[in-house]
């Protein structure tokens, strides 16, 4: 019904301009929460593609909470479940939640993701993690749902 538009102030052109402006404003308003260049889901996909294997959240959980023969597990600093703020096992500094649903900043910057996996895997496993391990951990972390938060955190393993 084109006649409707001709009479009114809101021509299709103005409407779309308003909509684009509103969308742009929204994008800028949301930008700080995702300041980086990537998402947790695409990081999981990156490592899954690299390994050529399907991911397993359960394997990720076991990996995350195991000590791998050393003094620490990933959970020593990030907690189990990793959905709340924790304290660094040696410095005591606060570490914000790791699960992306509980902390939208997580895994949104590729360089940062690579830096921390490199360091933390060296600390826990005395080697770098494989693509399978990283994809599995991400699969587990992505399972946590902010609308259905897990039970109260258990003691650090």
């Amino acid at each position: 019904m084109p006649a409707l538009h001709h009479g009114g102030m809101h021509t299709p052109h103005t409407t779309s301009l308003v909509r684009v402006t509103a969308l742009l404003a929204l994008v800028f308003a949301l930008a700080p929460a995702h300041a980086g260049d990537t998402t947790a889901a695409s990081q999981m996909q990156r490592w899954s593609d690299a390994s050529g294997k399907p991911v397993s959240a359960e394997r990720g959980r076991v990996f995350f909470t195991s000590r791998h023969g050393g003094e620490w597990s990933c959970a020593s600093c990030h907690g189990n479940p990793p959905t709340t703020s924790t304290r660094h096992a040696s410095t005591g500094k606060t570490i914000t939640a790791l699960a992306p649903a509980f902390n939208p900043e997580r895994f949104t910057d590729t360089a940062k993701v690579d830096k921390w996996f490199r360091r933390n895997c060296n600390d826990v496993l005395s080697r770098e993690c494989t693509a399978v391990e990283k994809a599995d951990v991400l699969a587990w972390l992505l399972q946590f749902d902010a609308k259905n938060p897990p039970q109260a955190p258990k003691d650090k393993p």
């Binding site: 660094h88 040696s90 410095t91 005591g92 500094k93 830096k115 490199r118 360091r119 933390n120 060296n122 600390d123």
Partner: protein, 168 residues
């Protein structure tokens, strides 16, 4: 008094010069206040230093260690007191340059402490000689490196004695 000089002193030009000189003196005095001190406001710290180093622990003022300690530390970040704190080479260079430029040079800091640990410096021991051994073991303190447990504004680079509150 010379009337010409009195008039001169009131001209905007002279006032401006005076104001500029005062500002310049202040600008020089402020950095000097912490240039060779164990204190440094967080606002004066290199953003990369705060971002990278204070991700795991508080940003220790660079004046707390001599340049030789910082230099050794920045060369061994992959084994940084038991953890891998490695950074890309450009970042290491940037932070090292800043740390070494702002390192402590006065008498009590000049000498590198054992293991390049601030907490093993002679001045640290002396400053904390009245702290009972049990205090260091309290859960809220945990470690000698946890300055902020007692120095309530340590994360701002402020170690003033007046701001010390020892937790129970």
């Amino acid at each position: 008094m010379n009337p010409i000089a009195t008039t001169m002193a009131r001209t905007p030009f002279v006032r401006n010069v005076r104001r500029s000189a005062a500002l310049l003196a202040l600008a020089c005095a402020l950095p000097a206040a912490w240039a060779d001190s164990r204190e440094m406001p967080a606002s004066a710290m290199l953003p990369a230093y705060k971002q990278e180093c204070a991700a795991c622990h508080m940003a220790y003022p660079p004046g707390m260690l001599p340049a030789s300690s910082w230099s050794r530390m920045m060369k061994g970040l992959d084994q940084h007191y038991g953890t891998d704190a490695s950074l890309d080479p450009a970042m290491v260079r940037q932070i090292s340059t800043w740390l070494e430029a702002h390192a402590g040079t006065y008498k009590r800091v000049r000498e590198a402490p054992p293991q390049d640990r601030i907490t093993q410096s002679a001045w640290f021991e002396r400053k904390h000689r009245e702290v009972e051994p049990a205090v260091w073991k309290r859960a809220a303190v945990g470690s000698r490196a946890n300055c902020i447990a007692c120095h309530t504004r340590a994360d701002q680079g402020d170690f003033d004695d007046d701001r010390v509150r020892i937790p129970k």
